[in-house]
Amino acid sequence: MAPHINLFEFSAKEVAAKTKPGQFVVLRIDEDGERIPLTIADANAEKGTISLACHEVGKTTTQLGKLKEGDSILDLLGPLGNPARIEKFGTVICIGGGVMVAPLHFQAKAFREAGNYVIGIVGATTKDHLIFLDEMGRTCNELCVATDDGTKGYKGLDFLTDLIAKRKVDRVVAEGPIVMMKAVSDITRQNGIPTLVNLIPIMVDGMGMCGACRVTVGGKVLFACVDGLEFDGHQVDFDELLSRLKMYTDQEKLAYVFWEKGGRN
């Protein structure tokens, strides 16, 4: 779709039949691989497929990117997590950043079907990393584009302040980098607009057992896998989340080097 961003369609009949927007799967490529959580970007119950979008950032995601049509992976567990709350709220802003625009699109579609007026915002660091522009354009009543470097659409997120000042917005749903969800929450906090963020921290089992995915929300420790992925953006301790996410960068790098250089996991 964009450099190092891939969209996959997996055949997984049982998962597809039950998936609702906002849920995720945990997958393993092979016996020695790590388990990675990915938010579901689409599900087609008839075809029995689900879609997953993934940015190549480390060993597993790069390995995933090397798969070809027809390849299979070891296992895929899901759907996990709670479905996003989709109701008729009125005007809903769906804002997505980077690769997470794909799963956000799944939610945006559901909001539109539920009778909301959906304003979509697609963001990325730069023009070339924007994805799902056409899909979001078709799904949403309105579409805005933003980039960090201003190569396409608005530069940064400052325009959101004006947007919510001018329009009556009933709900904001954000899915993307932590810094983006934090920035969105900071902006909407001033107007008191309910803002839901989708958190997908480091996970192991994805079923509430290990506690790796803990997040502090309103002073309470919750587990993203069983309490989320959707949380009140105005209550989330984003700084803690960001620091927890970087716990294993060295390990990830080593795994990548060993895999790339030595063909091992």
Partner: protein, 721 residues
């Protein structure tokens, strides 16, 4: 990056340094060898390359041979790099295309009796420098304008002193205090020793002087609400009580002088339960307001809530002086008042010792208590107090009658300072006080350039010490402001947007707030804040973040050059290990230099590669060394706690611990990787570390990753998965 396209023309100047190098290393042979290296178009030996004749020769050869990279193989870059860089600049070359090979401190001086090995090592060091030089790029240094104004936060004696010092030098000062009245803690103290002047009088004079100074802009009842920017250009939002309109100012530097508070020992020794149990500060306020009902018997208890096992573990430094001072004032009020000080240790350091002597001479009683048997205060039915204490020297329990118990409690950080620490993005220590970047070398500086700390905000201290710090911060702040501009070195982080995956690992890794995340994750480097440690580059999973002048390709080129020699194949009979030592440019490189200066001999197997910080050493660099056939790799850094970049060495240690677990998968014994720490004064320690490590590697034998003789490439052992 464009430099790759021009043809490399490298010149190598090998220095004899008189006898210093020439007596041990075969300099002519080394210079001849240098000529055989790729892209070297000129090489010569010199008696003293740093002499004017030597420098002239460099300039001449740059012109004659159109050199675009220059290497001097001589002494340590710590002393001579800038001289040679200047020479290159004079000849029209960029200073960043210059590279040094240290063949004196790291070679001839430490292998004085091994001329053959030293010569081989000198060749290796030059080969590494040549390889690295091929990847060097010209850089431009940027200049930042400095707004010659300061924000001083806190209008106590430290803040006012710093403000006055700067204002008198002609700088604009914004002095902010949360209280309506300036003066801070001194407004609440009684008399100061040794003059017995009223504290409030002392501070009043200072406040009047500050108010009268036209360069000082007062903001009372005001909080710092928001701070953004960097040295020279901080944007500050001030919020004044009773005002809806925040005030915005721009300053070049910031001084934190927010002071501290007295700890209130609620629940200890009957404090707040009996009105005759009070703290030292409350006692002074009674004296100040003339409200003290003259007591007959006063007991003072020291170290109340201080020097504890957890939490307030620190000594508050001033309480012993304060207790003695107040005891002496009581005696002066009426010599018949019975005063007892119950203490753990009396700490009246320096000149203050005489107050202890005075107290002894004025019949003040001292009882030393045992931490395990602390004193007890009980109220009697008649309202008087009984203090029971186990006297260590008497070996018995003593009961003291008292009508006033004064508790000496430590200074503690105040809540507003915690908020300020978050606003300024500067750290607090475990004791809650503001935490300077280096306890010895930069005692009033934060890691963030242009922000300084003085007074009790930094920890308990007396007025003299607070003033000394206040003047220190004023002096530090005036350096960039007087210069009006600072030149930022080009060794900065730089991100390649093409391969960045916006994970923001770099943002989290930077302790200097030099990398900001844009809303969609693009890291933005604030060059003014970047100190050039390169930790972010080592944390980046993609190699998108690089440190200019210490990029991965530059470091790896040197590593590969070290091992890519025909001689580095499987050893035949005698095994001479080749060991790569990464040394941070601060302490450990200096320790290696000192080992040289002190002529401390160590085995000649170690090749030092300079990096800005041990935290810059990436797992990739270490793996590359082993892949290329290193028998051992040792990373050296400053002592833990002394890192010039806060905690780069801790990150390096974590990385080594992790890699030790993983090296086995490559068939490399984890003992072949080590990390060591040395301060710049520990030349002997550096030499010992190297000696021990070489011995260890000799025991382990040659690395299985050494290329096989006959050109057969090393094949990874894949059976151990």
């Amino acid at each position: 990056m464009e430099a790759d396209k021009e043809e490399l023309r490298i010149g190598v100047f090998v220095c004899r340094c008189g006898f210093n190098i020439g007596r041990v290393v075969d300099v002519p042979a080394v210079a001849e060898y240098a000529k055989t290296l790729p892209h070297v178009v000129f090489a010569e030996e010199g008696l003293y390359t740093c002499s004017s004749a030597g420098l002239d020769s460099i300039k001449k050869q740059i012109e004659k041979f159109k050199l675009n990279r220059v290497i001097v193989a001589s002494c340590t870059p710590a002393t001579h790099e800038s001289l040679f860089q200047k020479t290159c600049e004079e000849a029209g070359l960029n200073k960043y295309v210059f590279e040094m090979a240290n063949i004196r401190e790291h070679c001839s001086w430490v292998h004085m009796h091994l001329p053959e090995e030293a010569t081989e090592k000198a060749k290796d060091l030059i080969r590494m420098a040549v390889a690295r030089a091929g990847h060097l790029e010209p850089q431009t240094e940027t200049e930042l304008n400095i707004n010659p104004s300061t924000l001083v936060i806190g209008g106590g004696i430290a803040g006012i002193t710093a403000a006055m010092s700067l204002a008198r030098q002609g700088f604009q000062v914004h002095l902010v205090d949360k209280e309506a009245q300036l003066g801070g803690m001194l407004n609440r103290l009684y008399k100061l020793q040794p003059t017995e002047r009223e504290a409030s009088e002392v501070i009043r004079e200072l406040v009047i002087a500050a108010r009268a100074n036209n360069n000082i802009h007062l903001h009372t009842s005001t909080f710092v609400h928001e701070v953004s920017g960097f040295i020279g250009n901080f944007n500050v939002t001030l919020q004044t009580n009773n005002s809806n309109q925040p005030e915005r100012i721009n300053v070049g530097t910031i001084i934190v002088a927010t002071g501290a508070e007295e700890f209130k020992p609620v629940g200890m020794y009957g404090y707040k339960e009996n009105q005759n149990v009070i703290t030292q500060l409350e006692f002074e306020q009674l004296l100040q307001n003339g409200e003290l009902k003259k007591p007959k018997k006063v007991v003072t208890i020291q170290c109340v809530g201080a020097r504890e096992k957890t939490g307030r573990t620190y000594c508050s430094r001033i309480c012993c002086q304060v207790a003695l001072n107040n005891a002496l004032l009581l005696k002066k009020l009426d010599p018949n008042i019975d005063v007892t000080i119950i203490f753990r240790d009396i700490q009246t350091y320096g000149e203050n010792e005489r107050f202890y002597k005075d107290a002894r001479e004025n019949s003040i009683n001292f009882i030393r208590y045992d931490l395990n048997r602390p004193p007890k205060v009980t109220s009697r039915p008649d309202g008087s107090l009984a203090v029971t204490v186990y006297d260590i020297y008497l070996g018995a329990e003593v009961e003291l009658e008292s009508d006033l118990v004064v508790l000496s409690t430590p200074l503690v950080q105040n809540e507003d300072a915690r908020k300020l620490s978050a606003i300024l993005k500067v750290p607090l220590g475990t004791d809650g006080f503001f935490f300077e970047v280096h306890p010895k070398l930069r005692p009033v500086d934060f890691a963030s350039e242009g922000i300084y700390v003085c007074g009790t905000a930094h920890g308990p201290k007396n007025i003299v010490e607070s003033l000394a710090q206040a003047y220190a911060t004023a002096s530090k702040a005036s350096i960039p402001m007087a210069a009006e501009k600072i030149k930022a070195g080009a060794v900065k982080a730089s991100v390649n947007q093409e391969i960045c995956v916006n994970c923001d690992a770099c943002v989290v890794s930077c302790v200097f707030n030099a990398i900001e995340a844009s809303p969609f994750g693009l890291p933005k480097i604030i060059e003014a804040n970047c100190k050039g440690c390169g930790v972010c580059a080592s944390e980046c999973p993609m190699g998108a973040m690089q440190l200019i002048h210490f990029k991965d390709d530059q470091i790896i080129a040197a590593i590969e050059a070290l091992f890519n020699s025909e001689k580095r194949t499987e050893p035949d009979e005698s095994f001479k290990p080749v060991i790569l030592c990464f040394a941070c440019q601060w302490c450990s490189y200096a320790a290696a230099d000192l080992a040289g200066v002190s002529r401390i001999q160590y085995p000649p197997n170690v090749r030092v590669l300079r990096v800005p910080c041990s935290g810059r050493v990436d797992v990739l660099h270490v793996l590359k060394a082993f892949q290329s056939g290193a028998d051992g790799v040792i990373i050296t850094g400053c002592l833990i706690g002394d890192c010039h970049y806060v905690d780069g060495n801790v990150k390096a240690k974590d990385r080594v611990d992790l890699m030790k677990k993983s090296l086995g998968f490559l068939g490399i014994d984890p003992k072949r990787l080590e990390i060591g720490f040395a301060s710049s004064s520990e030349g002997r320690k550096f030499a010992t570390m190297m000696t021990d490590f070489v011995k260890e590697i000799e025991k382990l034998g040659p690395s299985p990753s050494r290329p096989k003789r006959g050109g057969e490439k090393f094949v990874q052992d894949n059976n151990k998965t």
